[in-house]
Structure formats: structure tokens, C-alpha cells
Symmetry: C2
Subunit: 671 residues, 2 copies
């Protein structure tokens, strides 16, 4: 453990603050610059703009209603904070929520405008279409890191107290809860419900405009994958920085400030990496070559960004701290992030045995597809969890609890580029959908499919990455809780602690069950509404009348908000109850157990879902009988089962474990 | 905590020993008496006897080969024990294994002889058919408790040292590993493989004699549910007694002896309960009335047995210990057992919302069936886990760690009757299968179906019960480990302990994945063998030639043994490695984490599987379109997915967590 306190001088501090603010502003300026490039592209012919507009309006309608309820919740919690603590903390909390809500809003605006542009460009140039898709993702991710870091430094400069920053993170947690959990329920209700009533019941194809749920489904892609994943990682990002600052301040001021500097460096590295993600236009390229080119370009950007991050961290730590042991913690984090990413790709990409064996098992029917997917999903947790264990042991060995927090920052440092790749997925997915809906020509659709195929992998990687970073953030909150609650020891030999370990695992299972049930229920309402419209709107089924798309969006939004209440309350009420009834040690056990079980279940559900998805895509590309074969039908069932797991319950667990941590930290002084 | 040491006199001790031996002998005498009653019944016409014989021979062939490899493993481990400890412990270890292997052998002999008698009696009298099915289960369960307790007292009288008893339990663990894990893989390989190639590929009905895997499948029912569940609960039973004795001896000799007395009382209560399970013959009863009558009769027996157990425990504790606080621990255990049983019934019986909602969701296809089943399975863990938490807190509050062990005995005390109900399931399942294969008349088949329907519920209850008791046994091993390894504290704030918690959860996931994969692989070999026979044996498909049933049994046995190696090694090697590399505290964390995650996953998988099974049965009884409808097809897929979960991977976790515990305890002095 390090205890040396380094005295700082004001000039030195100014330099640091300027570096941090500079990096934040650079991210935003670059984001604005990129968005200008994107907006210059034509959104395409009128019909395409219409679809894009409908998705845009739906997405905004969703956000508006979410934010209404978010505001009410915000207000109630703020009252609690004022009553038990003080009004400044409540203000910071509200500020944190508003900032997070704003970035989600910006993200949705970008992604819903980029989709038609991407589809339109696909008719002209594959490389430019890719570029627009990827840069849109970059705009979203740069906004998140830029706004995130500027918000932190802003609060810091005003309060000069890390305790306030915790409320900034808490604000972002609340938004993540609404968008990731509520958004996850929304997107899968619309998706599953629309498919059930459209594909299964009426026998019309996917993305058919006669299906009133079709726009709700497209809205869902943005809601779940852009706003949901974005707010989740926004929370992880600011939490990782703040938790590391919090734990660092226990050592010295310089240690407390280091996380911000590393985050600033990460922004620069990400921007350089983003700059390198380009592909050359080719002629008559096959599907394989196209996807390979995109993969290579993205890998290039990610590898360079990570490599630079390692070098930058080394010099920053050497220069500002002078203790290279801290560097090893960061290094461990960076490497763990890379390993988790690769492991996710291995288990969810059709280039490797797991997905291929699921595809093969589809030949003997849907039950073997499900069984094989479950087995692969369970297996897929091994490498990422070992990576996390290694990080914990290495980081702690060198710098104690602070090391674990700073390792989390190693994982999240180059979020700028990682999230750009993650958000690229839903944008090109939407583009491919629009191309399909508009019946564009085969060349355009095959190009969009190539974009989409890679997008699927990057979305899967994003999920693995989100789960891995969430668990490190939750661990950092646990460490902070441990300090603040002044805990001597949490002894597993104590039955209350064992009870806590059981409760932690139990919440994860209950929470997952509630989310999956919520999707079923939401889908049920969508089915009923679609049936009603087909019955009551004359000429709809014949394609003569327009469906009431907004109605479907409205119902799904309402239902997803209602279904969010139980899991949301669970994540706030359980820590309070356990803390009061079983004591602070038991609550600590709940935190650790929930993050252990939460990571296992999140990876299991996300990877099983991702693998089923890509096994289906693999068959659709012509193997085992291709589209329409019995194998394909079996694989579609696997994909449908995986949908709520990978896009609703799995990622929601990230939010659960982080909220449990931050709520416990906030109530710690009272225990 | 209690520290008073009560001085005992030799006469008093003789009385106790006589009581214990008396109860054990009574169980065996009653079992012999009952088996005479059963054997007096006619096994039916020649064709039926032939089928029953084929199942018998197959089951014995399976056991023989299992025991061959078991002997080799036994020998190797015994050498280790001799090398590191001493030869007497090795001898006790071998004795424990032999005793456990013998009870499994007896159980299989009974169940494979009872099936045709039960089917044959169904043509004459419903009540007598039920009685034979139930009494056969009782013979098996009474043999287990009788032999179990006699073995313990035998070793005790020779060695007068509880440490030796741990090796007796270890021996039974090894048998449980072979029969529950190997048996689970076997039964589901044969079941899934046979269905895939028969029902799906060739389109012939289930239990069709032209399918060479049909006898292997019937053998599997006995192997998995009788030998597997029996050896699992034999292990739990002797482990619960021994762990409680071990922890009790730390307090005083009288405390150390109490568990044996309670077990003896439990045997008497079970016998009385078994005696009460009778139904009156009725005329023209509907399916509902028949199943209701059986349920009422079984509930009567179970409730009376539990009630008597509470009263007996009260007096035993009052008389021999004089500290009624111990009684509360037993009471908590008894009640928890009842609650876990009820919760399992609620989630897996078609009388309650969970199964009904799965059945309803089958109307919209197999994907919704799977999703709904997963959600219900996740949800089903809540009540049992809360019951376990309550037991831990209450038992510890009154009597410390010993309390937790003695509470485990509260759950397992009336194993005699609980396991009788559990083993009743596979016997009547076989009987129904034989009635089907022989094409017996409608009345007989409907009677067998009624017997089987209840058997399904009791099998599900048995699984919940096995999981709940396994976790209490594993906790008791953990407590013993804690004492023997002389651990001061296992602090969750220590990163090695956190690593241990991750590893514990990780093993559970990896172990489950290996078992599920093993079933897939085993099924694959069965499919190939069946295809080969159809191709190479002329006239087989036309029903003119006899299939080589033994070949299928042989291949499945070999494959299940091979596939057992990896999970088996995992459960022995991981504690040793963690203990050496990360230390004894981290190993303690692994134990607790694995039992927490193991319980959650075991309940999830068992209950989801049980619920799918009964949802299918419910539809087959005529709802949602009945047999052959689209809803039925969807429900069949749910059932097939659930099969390996509920009969292979789920129950195998019981073995995993118990073996981890006992291996850790044995290596504890070296850490």
C-alpha cells in the first residue's frame, strides 16, 4: 500500500485541469465536426426519409415519456437526499441525471438521422456507407466521454469534494436504469410481439409496413442499443472515474486526480483510433471480403487506441505520480478489456466453433439448438471471469483497493472507440431494415447486410465489454462502501454474511425473471394492439390504409415503464432493507455476491443470445440449407429465445449491480 | 453458543447405541417385509416380463461397468489417502463407497422388478397398483436410511472417532458422483438421442420397440432417478449426520451423538408415515379424482411423519441434551424442508399459475414456451432460498455452526418417506412405459398415466428436496472445514477471497456446461448407433427382426463414463489448486460461493425442467388443443430442452457442492 502524500502546487494543478477540460472539449468539437460530415449526406428519397422520420418521432416520443417519469422519480429521490443529507447533493444528483439524459437524447438524435443516410449511401459506395455508420457511432461515443468528463471536472471545480461526485454518478445511474432496463423491456416487447403476431400468426415478412408494430420495433433498436447501451456505459464511465477518484483521495490528492488524467488520455487515444477506422472502396467484393475489411479497420483502430493508452498511462503515471506500480493496475485493466472482447467474439462470431456447433445442432431441431446455446452460453463465462479475477488480484497486489478502481478505468479508458463500434451496430441494423422496407435493389441490400453482419459482432462485443466494466465499477463501489461504512471485516464464517451472499445471488435471479416476464407481458400487449388495428382499420391488411404506428409505440412505452417499477424498486429497496435488518457487513456480502452472480448471468445470457443470433445469420448465409430450411426454422427459435436474454435481462444486470453499489455507498454513513 | 460439557455414563451410552442400531435394523426388516409383499405379485404375462427383464439386465450392465471404473478410482484415491494419511482411513473410505454402491444396487434391483408388477396390477386394481409402486419406493428409501445409519454406527463403534466418519461420507460421495453425474448423462443421452432419431427423424412413436434405444431409455429412468437420486440422497443423509456429529463433538459428546438419535427417530417417523400412505379402491373414477387421492395419501404420510419428527426431536433433545435451543434448529430445518417441497410443487404442478402460464404460452410457439419456462425457473428460486436463509440465521442464532448442521438433519430426518415418494416416480413412469409398449388396454393405460402424473410431481419435489438438503450439507462441510483449517476470518474485503467467490460461481457454470455438452455428445452417439442398426439389421424397421438393445446400452454407458471425467476432476482438483495457490481463506470462499450459486442454478434448472414437463403433460390431457396440436409440439420442445437441465446438470450440482466441501475438509489440515 502507498501512503506517501505528495504536495502539489497550484500551477501544476491548473495544468492538469486544463488538460482534462481540453480533452473533454476536443471530444465534443470532434463530435460536432463529424456530425456535420454525416448531416451533409443526403437522407435519400422521400419514402426513405419518411420511414426515418417515423422512427425519429417514435424514439423521441419514447424518450419524452421516459423522461417524464424519470423527472418524477428524480424529484422524489432528490427530496429524500435533501431530507437526509443536504440540498447541494440533491442538486448535483439532478445535474448528473440531466447530463446523462442529454447525452442519451443526443445519441438518439444522431442514430435516428444516420440510419437513412447510411442506407442511401449504400447505393453509391460501400466504404462511404460504412464510414457514415461508424462515424455516427463515434459522434455518440465522443459525446458521452466528452460530456461525462466535463461534468465531473465542473462539479469538482465548484465543490472540490469527491463526495459530491458520487451523487453525480448516482444521477447517471438513475437514467441508465430507465433507459437500459426500461429500454430493454421496450425494445424486446416490440420485437417479440411484432414477430409473433406478424411472422408467426399472419405470416407476413419481417419489417412489413402492414405490421403496425414495425416502427416500434425499429424505434426499439435505437432505444435499447443506442440510448440503453449508451447510458449504461456513460454510467460505468463516470462511475469508474469517480470511484477511482474517491479511493485515490484516501491516498493523496495526486492519486485522486489521476483517474481524470487517464480518462483525458483515453479520449485522445480514442480520437486517434477513430481516425484510423477507414476502408478503401473495392469493386465486386464478396460478402466475406467486405466484412473482413470492416473487421480489420475496426481492429486497427481499437488496437492502436489501446496501445497508445498503455503508453500514455505509463508517462502520465510516471510524470504525475512517480509510482509505476499504479501503471500495472491500468495495464491489467486494458489487457482484461481486450481479452473480454476477444472471448466474446470467440463465443458469438460464426468464425469459431461455438456458433458453428449451434448452427450444426439446428439440423436436429429447435430443442438441440436451445440446449447447445445454453451450454455454450454457460461455457462462455470462463475466460472473461478468469480475466476479471486476474485483474482483481494483480491490481490489488500493486495498489490495493484503489488499484481495482483504476483497473476499471483501464477497461473503460478507450470507451470512445469501443462504444463507437458498439453503437455502429444498431445504426447499420436500422439502415439494413430501411433498405428492406423500401425494397431497395439487391446490391444495396447485400452491402447493408455486410455492414449489419459486422454490426452484430460489435454489438455482442459491446455487451461483453459493458458487463466486464460494470463488474469492475461495482467492485469499486463496494471498495468505497467498505471504506465509508468503516467496516473492519466481512467474515464469510458469519451466518448473516452467508445470508447476504444468498440474497445477492437471489436478487440477480429475481431481477432477471422480472425483466423476462416484463418482455413477455409487453409483447402480449403489442400482439393485442396489432390484432385490434388489423380488425378495426379497413384496408390495412391489403396495404391500402396506413397503420397507427404511434399507437403501438405508445402502448409499448407505457407498458415498459410500468414493468420497470418492480425491478427498479428491487435495486433500491433491497440494499436499504438488508443494511437495516442484517447490518452493514451483510450488505457488503450482498454487493459482492450480486456482482459475482450478476457477471456470470449477464455473460451467460448475452453470449448465448449473441451466439444464437449469429448461428441464425450463418444459416441464412446459405449453410445447412439456408433460409427457409428446417434448420433455419430451428435457428430462428434460438434467436427469438435469445432476444430478451441478450438485449433485456442480460444487460439490465449491469445496471442492477452498479445501482446496488452506489445506493449502498450513499446509505453507508447511516449504517 | 453452548459450552457445557455433560458427563455421560456407559449405561446411558449403551441405551443410545441400541436405539440407533434398533432403528436401522427396523428399517431393513420393514424393507424386507415390504419387498416380500411386492414380489408376491405377479410380474404379468411373458412379453411384459421380457421387457422388464431387458430393463433389469441393462440396468445391471450399466451398474457393473460403472462399478468397474468406480473401483479403479476408489483404488487410486485410497492410495492417496494411505500415502498422505493412513490406511485405516482408506479402509473406511472404501467401506463407505461399498455400502453406498450396495444400496444403489439394491434400489435398482427393486425398481426394475417393481415396474412390470405395477403395470400388471393396474389391470386389476388401481389402489393395489399404486400401493406396489409406492412400497417399492419405500423399500429403496428404507434400505438407504437403514444401511446409512448402521454403517455410521458401525464405524463409530470401531473407531470412536468422528474423523474417520468423514471418510465414510467421502466414499459415499464418490459413488454419488458416478451414479448421479454419470447416471444423469447416461439417462439423458439415451432419452434425447432416442427421441431425436426415433420421433423426429424416423417419425415412429415413443417407446416403439423398433427403436434400438428404447430399452436404454427405460434403463436410464432407473439409472438416473433411482440409483442417481438415491445415491445423491444417501450421501446427503450420511453427510448431514456425520457433519453434525463432527461439529457437535466440538461442544460435547452428547451433542456429537444427538444427530444419530435424531436420524433414528426420523426412521421411526418415516415408517409410520409410509404405513399411512394408502388409498381406497373406487369405481369409475376420473383422472382428477385418482391423482387427487394419491396426492392426499402421500401428503397425509409426509405431514404425519414431519409432525411426529418435530415431537420426537423435542423429547429427544429435552431428554438427552436438556437444551431446547437445539430443538429450534431442528424445527427450522423441518419447516424449511416442507416449504421447499411446497414451493417446488407450486412451480412444477399443473394446478398452479407457473405451469399453466407455460402451457398457455405454448399457443404462440416454442420460443415463448422456452422464454416463459426460463422466467418461471428463475423465479422459482426465491422461496426456497429465503427458506434456506431463514434456517441459517435461526439455527446459527440458537446453536452456532452446529445448529446449521443439525438443521440439515431436520430437512433430511424423514428422508425415509420423502425419498419413498421420490423413487415412486421412476417406477410408475416405467410401468406406464411398459403398458404403452405392450399395447395394454385403455383402462390400464389411463390408470398408469394417473400414477405417472403424480410421480412426475413427486420426482420434481424430490429434486427440490435434494437441492435444498445438499446445500445444507455443503454448508455443514464448510463449517467443519472452517474449524479444521483453523481459519480466523474469511474477509470479503480481501481480493483473494473475492477471487474465491468468483471461482466458486465459475465452477458451477463450467460444470453445468460440461454436463449439458456431455448429454449432447452422448445423444449424438446414440443417434449414430440407431441409424447403423436400422441400416445393417434387415427387417428391423418392419418389426420382423429384434434390435440390438444391449449395444445401445453399452455405447451410452461407455460414453457417459468418458464424459464424467472432466466434471469429476473439476470437483476434486479445483479445491486442491485453490487451497495451494490462493490459500485456505480463498478456498472457504469458493465453497460458500459454489453452494450459493449451485443452489440457485440447481433449483432454476430443475424447476424449469419440471415445469416444462408438466406443461406438456397438461396439454396432453386435452387442453390448448391436446396431443398433436401446434401447442403440444411447442410444449414438447420445452420438455426436451428441460430434460438435460432437470435430470442431468441440475441435480449434478448437488454432488459438485458436496464433493467440493468434503475434499476441502480432507485437505484442510495440510493448508
Amino acid at each position: 500500500m502507498i501512503n506517501a502524500i505528495i504536495v502539489t502546487n497550484p500551477g501544476f494543478e491548473m495544468l492538469k485541469v486544463s488538460l482534462i477540460i481540453g480533452a473533454g472539449i476536443l471530444a465534443l468539437v470532434y463530435a460536432i465536426f463529424l456530425s456535420k460530415i454525416i448531416m451533409k449526406e443526403s437522407p435519400g428519397e422521400k419514402e426513405m426519409v419518411d420511414i426515418s422520420k417515423a422512427i425519429q418521432e417514435g424514439a423521441m416520443a419514447f424518450l419524452k415519456r421516459e423522461y417524464l417519469y424519470l423527472d418524477i422519480t428524480l424529484f422524489i429521490i432528490a427530496l429524500f437526499i435533501i431530507f437526509f443529507l443536504d440540498w447541494t447533493k440533491a442538486l448535483v444528483f439532478i445535474f448528473g441525471a440531466l447530463v446523462a439524459a442529454l447525452t442519451a437524447w443526443i445519441g438518439m438524435s444522431v442514430s435516428t438521422r444516420a440510419n437513412s443516410r447510411c442506407a442511401n449511401l449504400a447505393s453509391k459506395s460501400f466504404s462511404r456507407a460504412f464510414r457514415v455508420g461508424f462515424l455516427s457511432g463515434a459522434v455518440i461515443s465522443l459525446t458521452i466521454v466528452g460530456v461525462g468528463i466535463l461534468g465531473i471536472i465542473f462539479i469538482w471545480l465548484i465543490t472540490k469534494n469527491v463526495e459530491f461526485l458520487i451523487f453525480y454518478a448516482f444521477g447517471s445511474s438513475l437514467v441508465a436504469l430507465f433507459l437500459r432496463v426500461g429500454g430493454g423491456i421496450y425494445t424486446k416487447s416490440a420485437d417479440v410481439g411484432g414477430d409473433l403476431v406478424g411472422k408467426v400468426e399472419a405470416g407476413i415478412p419481417e419489417d412489413d409496413p402492414r405490421n403496425p408494430a414495425v416502427i416500434a420495433d425499429a424505434v426499439g433498436d435505437n432505444v435499447g442499443d443506442v440510448a440503453g447501451m449508451g447510458s449504461d456505459l456513460f454510467e460505468s464511465y463516470v462511475s469508474a472515474v469517480i470511484a477511482a477518484m474517491f479511493l485515490g483521495m484516501f491516498i493523496s490528492f495526486d492519486y485522486g486526480f489521476l483517474p481524470l488524467l487517464l480518462a483525458a488520455a483515453g479520449i485522445i487515444c480514442s480520437i486517434i483510433g477513430i481516425f484510423l477506422v477507414k476502408i478503401k472502396e473495392g469493386e465486386n467484393e464478396s460478402f466475406e471480403i467486405q466484412t473482413q475489411k470492416i473487421r480489420t479497420a475496426m481492429n486497427r483502430g481499437i488496437i492502436v487506441a489501446n496501445f497508445l493508452m498503455i503508453i500514455f498511462s505509463f508517462f502520465i503515471i510516471h510524470f504525475f505520480i512517480g509510482n509505476l506500480e499504479v501503471f500495472f493496475a491500468v495495464l491489467a485493466g486494458v489487457l482484461a478489456g481486450v481479452i473480454i472482447g476477444w472471448a466474446t467474439v470467440y463465443f458469438t462470431s460464426d468464425k469459431y466453433p461455438p456458433v458453428l456447433s449451434i448452427a450444426k445442432s439446428s439440423e436436429s431441431g429447435s430443442s438441440t439448438v436451445i440446449i447447445e446455446g445454453l451450454a455454450q452460453g454457460l461455457m462462455s463465462v470462463v475466460i472473461p471471469v478468469i480475466a476479471i479475477i486476474a485483474v482483481i488480484i494483480i491490481a490489488y497486489h500493486y495498489v490495493g483497493l484503489f488499484g481495482i478502481a483504476i483497473a476499471g478505468l483501464g477497461v473503460l479508458g478507450v470507451l470512445g472507440i469501443n462504444l463507437a463500434c458498439g453503437c455502429y451496430g444498431p445504426i447499420v441494423d436500422n439502415a439494413a431494415g430501411i433498405a428492406q422496407m423500401r425494397g431497395m435493389n439487391k446490391l444495396v441490400r447485400s452491402r447493408c447486410d455486410a455492414l449489419d453482419a459486422v454490426g452484430n459482432s460489435t454489438a455482442a462485443m459491446g455487451r461483453g465489454f459493458a458487463a466486464g466494466s460494470a463488474v469492475l465499477v461495482a467492485l469499486a463501489w463496494f471498495a468505497s462502501y467498505y471504506e465509508v461504512a468503516k467496516i473492519d471485516v466481512i467474515n464469510i464464517g458469519d451466518p448473516k454474511v452467508i445470508a447476504g451472499l444468498f440474497i445477492g445471488g437471489l436478487i440477480v435471479f429475481l431481477f432477471s425473471a422480472l425483466i423476462i416476464k416484463a418482455v413477455s407481458r409487453g409483447a402480449y400487449y403489442v400482439v393485442n394492439e396489432v390484432r385490434r388495428q388489423w380488425k378495426e382499420i379497413p384496408g390495412l391488411m391489403e396495404g391500402k390504409a396506413r397503420a397507427e404506428y404511434v399507437k403501438c409505440i405508445d402502448i409499448t412505452t407505457k407498458e415498459s415503464l410500468k414493468q420497470m417499477v418492480a425491478p427498479g424498486l428491487l435495486s433500491v429497496v433491497v440494499p436499504v432493507l438488508v443494511g437495516i435488518i442484517l447490518g452493514k457487513e451483510a450488505l457488503g456480502a450482498v454487493l459482492v455476491s450480486s456482482l459475482v452472480v450478476g457477471l456470470l448471468m449477464a455473460l451467460f445470457m448475452s453470449n448465448a443470445g449473441g451466439a444464437w443470433d449469429n448461428a441464425k445469420k450463418y444459416i441464412e448465409s446459405g449453410y445447412f440449407g439456408g433460409k427457409g430450411s428446417l434448420a433455419h426454422k430451428a435457428a430462428v427459435i434460438g434467436d427469438t429465445v435469445g432476444d430478451p436474454l441478450k438485449d433485456a435481462s442480460g444487460p439490465s444486470l449491469n445496471i442492477l449491480i452498479k445501482i446496488l453499489g452506489i445506493v449502498s455507498l450513499i446509505i453507508a454513513p447511516f449504517l
